[in-house]
Amino acid sequence: MTQSSLRSATAARPGARDVKKVPFVELYDGRLQGVVSSGSDIQRVYVSFFEAGTRDFSCSTNNNRPCGGLGGSYPCNHLRELLDEAIEQYGIARVAAFLGMPGDLGQYQQLHDILRALGTSTRADSGTIFSRFLGDLALLELPADSAPLHTAAWF
């Protein structure tokens, strides 16, 4: 009888995201994935992801060339930046739960706690990530609207 129509959790209020460094990060389809700007070349971006569960990681340019900074067992700077911004955007509790970090999730309090418990470098197709980024950017291209919007009342 007393069911609610409202959302139980309020919308995430992201912290101070650095979109210059990491224009896009999301938790989608079993990956923490996103796009990281190159430190040296304005035209180049890296497409990077962590797999949920295995916590394996991958980083390559948007032309699918492997990232030079990536060793076998430790993530490159792009991946660290991606993870750092994911924590900023979603909060570390949600990131740790999504990645399926081992043991009690409460022990993951900061970036380094997660970095210490990762898998290894993997090569997997990351073509969809860049198109997800473009789809995300397209949202900002849509014009603002002045019409009353009653459907927003549920959010």
């Binding site: 995430a12 609207d145 459907t151």
Partner: protein, 447 residues
């Protein structure tokens, strides 16, 4: 004041909620293999003799026989909306009696919606969700719909549906797979499903705006947001043509999740004037601002300018206090908006105290605070010591509650939900995420 009358519920409200819960139960396990015969038969009895009867006499038995066609699901969504519409009307009447307000005349019924080819795919996908059942949905079913949704967002006349589905799909992807059936927020998802199905039945003709000139007194604002959308609603009084009415100004935009918190104000430079008027305690002069028949203003910052200083809540109190002598009339809502969660009567309260149970009002009545209250920007302490409050009388989860939007001290200083915007417009951040991403978009999307 007569707000204690809100403690008792209108006749038939609880029974109607039970009937809605019966419908929603079918959506949990789905229409294939779920228990649907009983609830469908019960629904048929409820609507006997009503205008929906001819439609349901055909659709309900068909669904019970397993004839899973789109139009039958549209009929089911209409039946559910009619039950909520009846609840909305009873609650609205109750609120008006408690506040001492009359209802303005009803508008002419809206023209029937025109069929739109793009909406067929939406209805089909929604039907797929219902057939599967919310507790058994797979993320892949949601992901497969995302390309169609991106196309839907390109259609301005379908914005209401696109916002709803963008929020709903994002919420589903965050919650799937469902571990336990009882984790499903059933009424909420059924609301979103039915709201989308009715809006996908066809696109209604938008109403024609008329220019209006007068003085606008902004009183407070409400933010509605999701990861990919933001909608700001200002509540105000408009003094025009010799009478004063309660009006709203809405601005909405799709956004990205990286733009959140206070940065959302950077998406709406055209709202700086309204924020300034709220922050400074000023009215606004409007010249030929477009206004819809239901009172909503279609904001155009070019047609507004700052007016005189005033104590906004003092101006509003004689019109918006409970049982006010010059009470404003309340406009009836169009059919698609007759849902209890959309009830939002603007009210000014004075002489209240804040306790564990919510607000203790001057006449001894108690009114809980609504969960939509923005406690970060309008903390309890400010609510408690305020001389006057402006907010909305709202309904959810079986009870009336008050959603504070702004609070005035005895000296007339106003705090309001969204007030962090004042600083942001005065001093935009050095690194503007909206500008950076828009620049990225123009570089990448137009290659």
């Amino acid at each position: 004041m007569m707000l204690e009358s809100l403690q008792s519920l209108p006749d038939g409200l609880a029974e109607t909620s039970d009937a809605i819960a019966q419908i929603d139960g079918m959506f949990l396990g789905g229409f294939v293999g779920g228990p649907v015969q009983g609830p469908l038969a019960a629904l048929g009895r409820i609507f006997a003799g009503s205008p929906l009867e001819p439609l349901l006499v055909e659709s309900l038995p068909a669904l019970a026989r397993g004839e899973l066609q789109e139009r039958h699901f549209v009929a089911l969504a209409a039946a559910r909306a009619a039950l909520q519409g009846a609840q909305h009307d009873a609650l609205h009447q109750q609120a008006l009696a408690a506040l001492g307000r009359a209802s303005a005349t009803d508008e002419a019924p809206a023209a029937p919606a025109a069929p739109t080819p793009m909406l067929e795919g939406v209805r089909h996908w929604l039907m797929e969700l219902a057939i599967t059942g919310f507790a058994r949905l797979e993320p892949s079913t949601i992901r497969s719909f995302l390309p169609s949704l991106a196309q839907l967002r390109e259609q301005p006349e379908l914005a209401g549906l696109a916002y709803l589905l963008t929020g709903f799909t994002s919420e589903l992807l965050g919650a799937l797979p469902v571990a336990k059936a009882e984790d499903v927020p059933l009424q909420r998802w059924a609301d979103l499903w039915a709201g989308a199905m009715l809006r996908a039945a066809g696109a209604a003709q938008p109403a024609e705006p008329q220019p209006v000139s007068g003085t606008l007194y902004p009183l407070g604002l409400e933010l509605r947001e999701h990861d990919q959308l933001i909608s700001v609603v200002f509540y105000a009084l408009l003094d025009a043509g010799g009478s004063t009415s309660a009006v709203r100004v809405t601005r909405s935009r799709f956004k990205v999740m990286a733009v959140g918190g206070d940065m959302i104000w950077l998406l709406f430079p055209e709202l700086a004037l309204l924020i300034e008027a709220l922050g400074q305690g000023q009215s606004l002069a409007l010249a030929d601002m477009p206004q819809l028949p239901n009172g909503d203003l279609l904001w155009d910052a070019q047609r507004a300018s700052l007016g005189g200083k005033c104590r906004l809540l003092d101006v509003a109190e004689p019109l918006l206090a409970p049982q006010a002598a010059q009470a404003v009339a309340s406009r009836p809502a169009p059919a698609l908006e007759r849902h209890p969660v959309l009830l939002a009567e603007p009210v000014v309260l004075a002489g209240h105290a804040l306790g564990e149970q919510g607000l203790a009002l001057a006449d001894g009545a108690a009114l809980p605070l609504d969960p939509r209250w923005d406690t970060a920007q309008l903390p309890a302490e400010e609510i408690g010591k305020a001389a006057k409050l402006f907010g909305l009388l709202r309904w959810d989860a079986g009870r009336w509650a008050f959603q504070p939007l702004s609070a005035a001290t005895a000296a007339g200083k106003l705090s309001f939900a969204g007030q962090s915007a004042v600083k942001l417009y005065k001093k935009p951040p050095k690194s503007n995420p909206v500008a950076i991403l828009e620049e990225r978009a123009s570089r990448l999307l137009r290659k």
